[in-house]
Protein backbone atom coordinates (compact mmCIF):
# COMPACT_ATOMS: atom_id res chain seq x y z
CA UNK A 1 0.00 0.00 0.00
CA UNK A 2 2.19 2.86 -1.19
CA UNK A 3 -0.12 5.71 -0.13
CA UNK A 4 -0.38 4.57 3.48
CA UNK A 5 3.34 3.95 3.99
CA UNK A 6 4.29 7.65 4.33
CA UNK A 7 1.55 8.05 6.93
CA UNK A 8 3.04 5.26 8.99
CA UNK A 9 6.42 6.98 8.76
CA UNK A 10 4.97 10.36 9.70
CA UNK A 11 3.88 9.69 13.24
CA UNK A 12 4.89 6.09 13.63
CA UNK A 13 1.89 5.09 15.74
CA UNK A 14 1.93 1.69 14.05
CA UNK A 15 5.69 1.12 14.44
CA UNK A 16 7.74 -0.38 17.25
CA UNK A 17 5.55 -0.97 20.32
CA UNK A 18 2.68 0.32 18.20
CA UNK A 19 3.03 -2.70 15.93
CA UNK A 20 2.59 -5.00 18.93
CA UNK A 21 -0.55 -3.07 19.89
CA UNK A 22 -1.73 -3.26 16.29
CA UNK A 23 -1.29 -7.05 16.35
CA UNK A 24 -3.16 -7.40 19.63
CA UNK A 25 -6.01 -5.24 18.35
CA UNK A 26 -6.11 -7.36 15.21
CA UNK A 27 -6.54 -10.49 17.33
CA UNK A 28 -9.21 -8.78 19.43
CA UNK A 29 -11.06 -7.70 16.32
CA UNK A 30 -11.18 -11.21 14.93
CA UNK A 31 -12.07 -12.71 18.32
CA UNK A 32 -14.85 -10.25 19.22
CA UNK A 33 -16.37 -10.07 15.74
CA UNK A 34 -16.38 -13.80 15.04
CA UNK A 35 -17.70 -14.57 18.51
CA UNK A 36 -20.56 -12.06 18.31
CA UNK A 37 -21.46 -13.00 14.73
CA UNK A 38 -21.71 -16.68 15.69
CA UNK A 39 -23.76 -15.85 18.79
CA UNK A 40 -26.06 -13.40 16.99
CA UNK A 41 -26.80 -15.83 14.17
CA UNK A 42 -27.20 -18.96 16.30
CA UNK A 43 -28.62 -17.89 19.66
CA UNK A 44 -29.57 -14.21 19.53
CA UNK A 45 -32.66 -14.60 21.77
CA UNK A 46 -30.60 -15.93 24.69
CA UNK A 47 -28.77 -12.73 25.58
CA UNK A 48 -29.35 -10.06 22.90
CA UNK A 49 -27.77 -7.20 24.87
CA UNK A 50 -24.57 -9.13 25.57
CA UNK A 51 -24.14 -10.19 21.94
CA UNK A 52 -24.79 -6.73 20.53
CA UNK A 53 -22.28 -5.27 22.97
CA UNK A 54 -19.69 -7.83 21.84
CA UNK A 55 -20.38 -6.78 18.25
CA UNK A 56 -19.92 -3.09 19.15
CA UNK A 57 -16.65 -3.98 20.91
CA UNK A 58 -15.49 -5.81 17.78
CA UNK A 59 -16.26 -2.80 15.58
CA UNK A 60 -14.37 -0.44 17.92
CA UNK A 61 -11.39 -2.83 17.84
CA UNK A 62 -11.53 -2.91 14.05
CA UNK A 63 -11.46 0.91 13.87
CA UNK A 64 -8.40 1.06 16.14
CA UNK A 65 -6.62 -1.68 14.16
CA UNK A 66 -7.14 0.17 10.88
CA UNK A 67 -6.13 3.52 12.44
CA UNK A 68 -2.87 2.07 13.79
CA UNK A 69 -2.16 0.43 10.44
CA UNK A 70 -2.70 3.61 8.43
CA UNK A 71 -0.91 6.01 10.77
CA UNK A 72 -0.84 9.78 10.44
CA UNK A 73 -2.24 12.50 12.65
CA UNK A 74 -5.90 11.99 11.70
CA UNK A 75 -5.62 8.25 12.36
CA UNK A 76 -3.96 8.99 15.70
CA UNK A 77 -6.96 11.12 16.74
CA UNK A 78 -9.40 8.44 15.59
CA UNK A 79 -7.43 5.88 17.57
CA UNK A 80 -7.37 8.12 20.67
CA UNK A 81 -11.15 8.60 20.55
CA UNK A 82 -11.74 4.89 19.91
CA UNK A 83 -9.40 3.80 22.71
CA UNK A 84 -11.20 6.16 25.12
CA UNK A 85 -14.58 4.84 23.97
CA UNK A 86 -13.26 1.30 24.39
CA UNK A 87 -12.05 1.97 27.93
CA UNK A 88 -15.30 3.71 28.95
CA UNK A 89 -17.46 1.01 27.37
CA UNK A 90 -15.36 -1.65 29.00
CA UNK A 91 -15.64 -0.04 32.44
CA UNK A 92 -19.40 0.57 32.02
CA UNK A 93 -20.10 -3.00 30.88
CA UNK A 94 -17.76 -4.42 33.51
CA UNK A 95 -19.61 -2.53 36.24
CA UNK A 96 -23.02 -3.48 34.84
CA UNK A 97 -22.19 -7.17 34.72
CA UNK A 98 -21.22 -7.07 38.39
CA UNK A 99 -24.07 -4.77 39.52
CA UNK A 100 -26.87 -6.43 37.54
CA UNK A 101 -25.84 -9.89 36.32
CA UNK A 102 -29.45 -10.72 35.35
CA UNK A 103 -29.24 -8.36 32.35
CA UNK A 104 -26.41 -10.55 31.01
CA UNK A 105 -27.41 -14.21 30.88
CA UNK A 106 -24.33 -14.83 28.71
CA UNK A 107 -20.81 -13.40 28.79
CA UNK A 108 -19.60 -10.49 26.69
CA UNK A 109 -15.95 -9.77 25.93
CA UNK A 110 -16.21 -6.94 28.45
CA UNK A 111 -17.90 -8.89 31.28
CA UNK A 112 -16.25 -8.63 34.71
CA UNK A 113 -13.66 -6.18 33.32
CA UNK A 114 -12.43 -8.71 30.78
CA UNK A 115 -11.56 -11.38 33.34
CA UNK A 116 -12.28 -14.13 30.79
CA UNK A 117 -9.56 -12.65 28.59
CA UNK A 118 -6.84 -12.31 31.25
CA UNK A 119 -7.90 -8.68 31.86
CA UNK A 120 -6.33 -7.79 28.52
CA UNK A 121 -9.44 -5.77 27.52
CA UNK A 122 -8.65 -3.33 30.33
CA UNK A 123 -4.84 -3.37 30.03
CA UNK A 124 -4.63 -2.86 26.28
CA UNK A 125 -6.70 0.37 25.96
CA UNK A 126 -4.74 1.98 28.82
CA UNK A 127 -1.45 1.01 27.17
CA UNK A 128 -2.86 2.23 23.86
CA UNK A 129 -3.82 5.63 25.25
CA UNK A 130 -0.39 6.10 26.85
CA UNK A 131 1.35 5.09 23.62
CA UNK A 132 -0.81 7.35 21.44
CA UNK A 133 -0.20 10.30 23.77
CA UNK A 134 3.53 9.76 23.73
CA UNK A 135 3.83 9.37 19.98
CA UNK A 136 1.68 12.49 19.57
CA UNK A 137 3.92 14.61 21.75
CA UNK A 138 7.05 13.88 19.73
CA UNK A 139 5.70 13.36 16.26
CA UNK A 140 8.55 14.14 13.88
CA UNK A 141 11.77 14.31 15.84
CA UNK A 142 14.26 11.56 15.17
CA UNK A 143 15.30 9.45 18.14
CA UNK A 144 18.68 11.14 18.70
CA UNK A 145 17.20 14.63 19.00
CA UNK A 146 14.69 13.33 21.47
CA UNK A 147 17.40 12.04 23.79
CA UNK A 148 19.25 15.36 23.51
CA UNK A 149 16.12 17.34 24.31
CA UNK A 150 15.51 15.26 27.39
CA UNK A 151 18.98 15.55 28.92
Amino acid sequence: MPETAPGVQRTGIGRGPGRLLLSLYGVFTVAALSRSIVQITLQFHEAPLAYVLSLVAGIVYAVITVALWRGGEAARKVALVSCSAELLGMLAVGTMTIADPSAFPDQTVWSDYGMGYLFLPVVVPVTGLLWLRRSGRQPQQPAQERTKARS
Partner: protein, 122 residues
Amino acid sequence: MLDAVTITVSVASLLLAAWCGYATLRDQPTKDWHFIGMAVVTVLALVQTVVGVVKLAGGEKPHDGTVIFVAYLIGALCTIPAAAFMSLTERTRWGSAIVAAGGVILAVLEVRLFDIWGGISA
Protein backbone atom coordinates in the same frame (compact mmCIF):
# COMPACT_ATOMS: atom_id res chain seq x y z
CA MET B 1 -5.43 -38.49 20.28
CA LEU B 2 -6.82 -34.98 19.91
CA ASP B 3 -6.06 -34.17 23.55
CA ALA B 4 -2.46 -35.32 23.12
CA VAL B 5 -2.05 -33.06 20.07
CA THR B 6 -3.68 -30.16 21.92
CA ILE B 7 -1.25 -30.51 24.82
CA THR B 8 1.71 -30.78 22.42
CA VAL B 9 0.68 -27.60 20.60
CA SER B 10 0.21 -25.76 23.93
CA VAL B 11 3.66 -26.70 25.18
CA ALA B 12 5.31 -25.91 21.84
CA SER B 13 3.61 -22.51 21.61
CA LEU B 14 4.63 -21.60 25.17
CA LEU B 15 8.23 -22.57 24.37
CA LEU B 16 8.08 -20.38 21.27
CA ALA B 17 6.66 -17.54 23.39
CA ALA B 18 9.47 -17.88 25.93
CA TRP B 19 12.12 -18.04 23.21
CA CYS B 20 10.83 -14.93 21.43
CA GLY B 21 10.23 -13.20 24.76
CA TYR B 22 13.93 -13.77 25.48
CA ALA B 23 14.81 -12.20 22.11
CA THR B 24 12.65 -9.20 23.09
CA LEU B 25 14.55 -8.84 26.36
CA ARG B 26 17.86 -8.96 24.49
CA ASP B 27 16.59 -6.27 22.09
CA GLN B 28 16.77 -8.57 19.05
CA PRO B 29 14.44 -9.03 16.09
CA THR B 30 13.23 -12.50 15.08
CA LYS B 31 15.89 -14.49 13.21
CA ASP B 32 15.77 -17.45 10.82
CA TRP B 33 15.79 -19.91 13.73
CA HIS B 34 12.77 -18.25 15.24
CA PHE B 35 10.93 -18.60 11.95
CA ILE B 36 11.82 -22.30 11.85
CA GLY B 37 10.35 -22.55 15.36
CA MET B 38 7.20 -20.81 14.17
CA ALA B 39 7.00 -23.23 11.24
CA VAL B 40 7.25 -26.21 13.63
CA VAL B 41 4.42 -24.86 15.80
CA THR B 42 2.33 -24.14 12.70
CA VAL B 43 2.85 -27.71 11.43
CA LEU B 44 1.70 -29.01 14.83
CA ALA B 45 -1.39 -26.79 14.62
CA LEU B 46 -2.00 -28.15 11.12
CA VAL B 47 -1.80 -31.72 12.47
CA GLN B 48 -4.32 -30.70 15.11
CA THR B 49 -6.69 -29.30 12.49
CA VAL B 50 -6.47 -32.52 10.44
CA VAL B 51 -7.03 -34.73 13.51
CA GLY B 52 -9.97 -32.53 14.58
CA VAL B 53 -11.60 -32.64 11.15
CA VAL B 54 -11.09 -36.42 10.90
CA LYS B 55 -12.75 -36.83 14.31
CA LEU B 56 -15.68 -34.67 13.20
CA ALA B 57 -15.98 -36.64 9.95
CA GLY B 58 -15.96 -39.83 12.03
CA GLY B 59 -19.14 -38.65 13.74
CA GLU B 60 -17.75 -37.45 17.07
CA LYS B 61 -19.39 -34.33 18.49
CA PRO B 62 -17.53 -31.60 20.39
CA HIS B 63 -19.06 -30.81 23.77
CA ASP B 64 -19.69 -27.12 22.97
CA GLY B 65 -20.79 -27.52 19.34
CA THR B 66 -19.16 -28.07 15.97
CA VAL B 67 -19.24 -24.43 14.79
CA ILE B 68 -17.31 -23.15 17.82
CA PHE B 69 -14.86 -26.06 17.59
CA VAL B 70 -14.08 -25.46 13.92
CA ALA B 71 -13.80 -21.69 14.51
CA TYR B 72 -11.20 -22.26 17.23
CA LEU B 73 -9.33 -24.80 15.07
CA ILE B 74 -9.05 -22.19 12.30
CA GLY B 75 -8.07 -19.51 14.81
CA ALA B 76 -5.35 -21.73 16.28
CA LEU B 77 -4.02 -22.55 12.80
CA CYS B 78 -3.79 -18.88 11.75
CA THR B 79 -2.33 -17.35 14.93
CA ILE B 80 1.37 -18.08 14.44
CA PRO B 81 1.48 -17.39 10.66
CA ALA B 82 -0.21 -14.03 11.36
CA ALA B 83 2.30 -13.27 14.12
CA ALA B 84 5.16 -14.30 11.80
CA PHE B 85 3.89 -11.95 9.11
CA MET B 86 3.61 -9.03 11.55
CA SER B 87 7.08 -9.86 12.84
CA LEU B 88 8.47 -9.61 9.29
CA THR B 89 7.04 -6.10 8.98
CA GLU B 90 8.63 -5.01 12.28
CA ARG B 91 12.32 -5.89 12.30
CA THR B 92 12.99 -4.73 15.87
CA ARG B 93 12.61 -6.24 19.34
CA TRP B 94 8.89 -5.49 19.03
CA GLY B 95 8.65 -7.99 16.19
CA SER B 96 9.87 -10.63 18.65
CA ALA B 97 7.35 -9.40 21.21
CA ILE B 98 4.57 -9.93 18.66
CA VAL B 99 5.54 -13.59 18.20
CA ALA B 100 5.83 -14.03 21.97
CA ALA B 101 2.30 -12.65 22.34
CA GLY B 102 1.14 -14.92 19.51
CA GLY B 103 2.56 -17.96 21.35
CA VAL B 104 0.68 -17.07 24.54
CA ILE B 105 -2.53 -16.43 22.59
CA LEU B 106 -2.20 -19.83 20.88
CA ALA B 107 -1.73 -21.53 24.27
CA VAL B 108 -4.93 -19.85 25.51
CA LEU B 109 -6.77 -20.98 22.38
CA GLU B 110 -5.56 -24.55 23.05
CA VAL B 111 -6.97 -24.46 26.58
CA ARG B 112 -10.30 -23.30 25.14
CA LEU B 113 -10.13 -26.02 22.44
CA PHE B 114 -9.57 -28.62 25.13
CA ASP B 115 -12.70 -27.43 26.98
CA ILE B 116 -14.76 -27.15 23.81
CA TRP B 117 -13.91 -30.70 22.80
CA GLY B 118 -15.05 -31.95 26.18
CA GLY B 119 -12.11 -32.09 28.57
CA ILE B 120 -10.33 -35.21 29.80
CA SER B 121 -13.35 -37.52 29.72
CA ALA B 122 -13.93 -37.18 25.97
